[in-house]
Symmetry: C2
Subunit: 440 residues, 2 copies
């Protein structure tokens, strides 16, 4: 009896999880390694950040999802090293190191927030890529109103009541829209000294329009919609600096503007997992500016038929960093691995089928592009609702999410506003101010 | 027109929140100051820790609860100083200080976990008093199984599969019972290398029985029940030391025992808020060993008719640290303040009416004492279910909690297992080990 083919998957996002699922009937031993114990349903992170959903609803335990799939084991671990010649993956939790050997490797480690070389922005402008991020943003958004209420002078409350969202892709638009909903509906009666409806939401975008990937017509209409909601959309603006005093924006016409704010949310860029660099260095594959790996047309690494890279980590044919690319990449690589194990002809060319994309603008309003069909408004929103419930993992999560959506959209309340002291420390206090104070 | 009577309430627990509610019709300006933005329903914290409930379900935003009560404002802030002669309360969030004047003060700042002078145990044996604590325990409990799965040697997995709960009051018993449920039901099929059913749960108690406040008969039967569930109950044992290697227990017979464990949960002691000491020092009131203030029989501070201390912070007639004491203290002080404002005769003597107490042992089993009536088993559990749903704040929380309970008790799943990287860092890694490693 020969030993079974060993497949290692790195990551538990859409790519990693679906690769594991697609290998269900493969005659292989599959090990999925991830630095978090859950699968994060990223498209709804903004709802955890704004108090609609709990983390459990969009982040079920990976091993719970895969528990009936006997050929998969799930290991917690941050992958530190991939050794392409030894065919091993080294992962660690604290001081505990684990080395796992593979015959086939699927790297689906995703992307984190990217600051275009300005990593010093990060403490002042967190992104939204993980459950940790979402809970941090939750503390920042709800905490900002708390801080505004505490100010003696109205002028001091203003920066806390000014929310700047950088980047007008789906995440940025959804965050901005939700903050408006919060301030106008959820929090309307909650405060005594401030009026939450005075909150300003500014959406800064480097390009010529919001949601530009949806085409010029959708983009223009979405922009008008956001303006009607009271969102201050500032196009052609690049963020030059972020610190505790606010954001400095430089516009394409050469003008510069400083916005005083204490709450900046960064939805502008991505940086592929640093594992991309390791793969590139060892294989000679190219890397693009966001650190994505230039894979071959069958998603393998040059010179390494046994190594697949999928999802947000790849630079191939300008594919966008969306769930569908990761899931289809997972399906393709699993198919190829299965064919290889079974000694059958392998598919040679990955081709992405764009099932469409959508973004919510406010409750009851969304945009959706499906093929050449452009939907807007309520119809698009219903499509959004349907698709997201469909793709949420688990019947329980679907049910309780529907409940929370009813509460938030038909009612106006948010059931999951709780933020912890741990998060509040980073969000509401100012290390620099405190250090200055202590220094005298 | 004379200025309104100003009431300041410190704390948003059962005491603080219900004091504010009871002052609804008072002709007063009420300010509630709390270091957290939510009201924590402490009796269900163990369910957040063990993945049944989300934090939002048991910790709604305080200002949301009180939003329709126009005479109350809610301020976020950690109270650092109470000045009894100036009649001011100073609170802070980071560098932002707020000074609030009062005519009447209700101090309901509660208690934290107490280590009987051994605060060095804390990093290895966190307590369960706050939402932060509950999320930390969640990471420790679920994370321990993750770490066990990663070990190469079975012997190395054992300490991760050994859970020691210190203290067999309701919280300790409930935690121990839930860990058994997790290992035998929820996680049964989730792992490949370990069998979660091999987990050992050890309950260490200094006294002669578990749940001793429920009387000898209930205590004995509860003890038997726990043993049948597979919990190793060790009575008359005091914890002498806790570090990353485990727990050292000294028994009353003089013997000493070291239990190798990586997951110790501390449910053994409480320490009143340090504000108690300030009040004692300024008023000459006595303090007991747990830092509780010896108030007068009308809950006021000696020499300070205008200062009430309620809930877990008081040492009076051996009253227990339970929600009912806090809520009835809140009702009494609010009544007294209202009488004072209205120039009517004030109640002079607080008397506690014991409505009974209850604790769950496993799903479908509980103990409950109501007056001289001692309930056990399923009937007590139904009573527990009914009472807890009744007291949970908000219709939405009641509904979604019932849903999660159906999932957890009738089914076997836990919908809220998600832990963050932030929490996992503290729970699963070992700073000392890492430092040793770095030092060479």
């Amino acid at each position: 009896m020969t030993a079974k083919h060993r497949v290692v998957i790195i990551g538990s996002g859409f790519g990693g999880l679906f690769a594991a699922k697609r290998l269900k009937r493969a005659d292989a031993e599959v090990t999925l390694i991830s630095r978090v114990s859950h699968h994060t349903f990223q498209p709804l992170l903004y709802q955890v950040a704004t108090g609609i959903l709990s983390q459990g609803e969009i982040a079920p335990a990976t091993r719970e999802i895969l528990k009936r799939q006997d050929n998969v084991e799930v290991l917690l671990g941050d992958v530190t090293t991939i050794d392409l010649s030894a065919r091993t993956v080294t992962s660690s939790v604290g001081v505990l190191q684990t080395i796992t050997e593979y015959d086939s490797l699927i790297v689906a480690a995703g992307a984190t927030t990217g600051y275009f070389g300005n990593d010093e922005f990060e403490p002042f402008a967190p992104g939204l890529k993980s459950i940790d991020d979402a809970l941090e943003l939750r503390a920042r958004v709800f905490g900002a109103f708390e801080m505004a209420e505490l100010q003696q002078e109205a002028a001091d409350a203003e920066p806390w009541m000014t929310f700047v969202v950088v980047g007008a892709g789906p995440t940025g638009v959804e965050l901005a829209g939700q903050i408006v909903e919060l301030s106008h509906r959820t929090l309307k009666r909650d405060f005594r000294r401030i009026d939450p409806r005075d909150a300003r939401v500014i959406l800064v975008e480097g390009g010529d329009g919001v949601l530009s990937s949806f085409g010029p017509k959708q983009s223009r209409r979405a922009g008008e919609q956001l303006e009607r909601m009271g969102i201050d959309v500032r196009l052609q603006g690049m963020v030059e600096d972020v610190d505790e005093s606010g954001v400095t924006v430089k516009y394409r016409d050469g003008s510069t503007q400083h916005i005083a704010t204490r709450c900046v949310l960064w939805a502008a860029g991505v940086a592929a997992s640093p594992l991309g660099r390791q793969l590139a260095e060892q294989s000679g594959a190219g890397l693009d500016r966001a650190g994505r790996v230039q894979v071959r047309s069958d998603l393998t690494l040059p010179g390494h038929d046994e190594v697949f890279v999928i999802g947000d980590m790849i630079a191939l044919d300008d594919l966008p960093g969306v769930a569908q690319v990761a899931m289809q990449g997972a399906k393709f690589s699993a198919k190829k691995i299965r064919a290889r194990i079974d000694g059958k002809p392998e598919p040679t060319q990955f081709s992405y089928f764009d099932k469409g994309s959508m973004a919510t603008i406010s409750r009851f309003r969304a945009v959706a592009n499906v093929g050449s069909l452009e939907l807007r408004g309520f119809l698009a929103w219903v499509a959004w609702l349907f698709i997201h419930i469909l793709y949420l993992v688990g019947f329980r999560a679907k049910l309780s999410t529907l409940g929370h959506w009813a509460v938030a959209f038909i009612g106006r309340a948010r059931s999951e506003r709780t933020f912890t002291l741990e998060q509040a420390r980073g969000a509401l206090t100012d290390e620099r101010e405190r250090r200055d104070l202590e220094a005298g």
